[in-house]
Symmetry: C2
Subunit: 151 residues, 2 copies
Amino acid sequence: MSDEKEIAVILFDGFELLYVFGPVELLQFVPHYHLEFYAPSPGKVSSSQGIEVIAPRSLADLESADLLLVPGGKGTRALVNDQDFIGRLHLLGKNSATVVSVCTGAALLAQAGLLSGYRATTNKRAYHWVTGFGPDVSWQPSARWVQDRSR
Amino acid sequence: MSDEKEIAVILFDGFELLYVFGPVELLQFVPHYHLEFYAPSPGKVSSSQGIEVIAPRSLADLESADLLLVPGGKGTRALVNDQDFIGRLHLLGKNSATVVSVCTGAALLAQAGLLSGYRATTNKRAYHWVTGFGPDVSWQPSARWVQDRSR
């Protein structure tokens, strides 16, 4: 088990269910990886829809991940201005091998400086808002997804 | 609010996340409908993946729904033999305008007699197991989904 790699999924109030559980449905089957769920405050986390999901672990206890997954959702609108969260995300992203966001999760990564110099994209319905957080990001206006280098 | 219709989603230990949250992602936007989550034992319900989701309401408190959604997942293997659950599902399905299952949720509906005389289908990887519960169901071996009449 010590060789198992960790996929760390970050939940926060106002996350969008499908942005988490779509990828999780696939990622659960990747050999030699296991999933763990973290939140700024562990315990019940309320999705955009008001459905509560348990995040057993505190983000404060996470130093790095083999794959870091940051979903989007309405909750990003407040979280992007949460200095404590953004600072923690910055450190965590710097120490993680692969960093992935879905939809407006890209605003969090950009605000944390994790996309600086990288190509990235986001949901086109939130494009203007998200790209405002990353003046030094090479935003791709028409891509559905972007993959740019290892960290 | 009294004119709002209810979509009742049934959770149980071992439900598959995407079978719930895929449909929920769409259903949340249907005008004049709201979503409620029920479980045989309300509170924390553990998905196939071990992720816990809160079902705030007890299935015992539900008499009918405008739309009843029964997901699949590993947990159906035990639940299909749970007489109390199946009996309750039978009554609930009889009183609900629209009854929907995803994947092996069809085994639960069939066992509860709710598909008798109806066309239905299920996940083809569980087809043999599921169809064993409904000798009087018109199982469709190649359909991805089936819609058959109002109740």
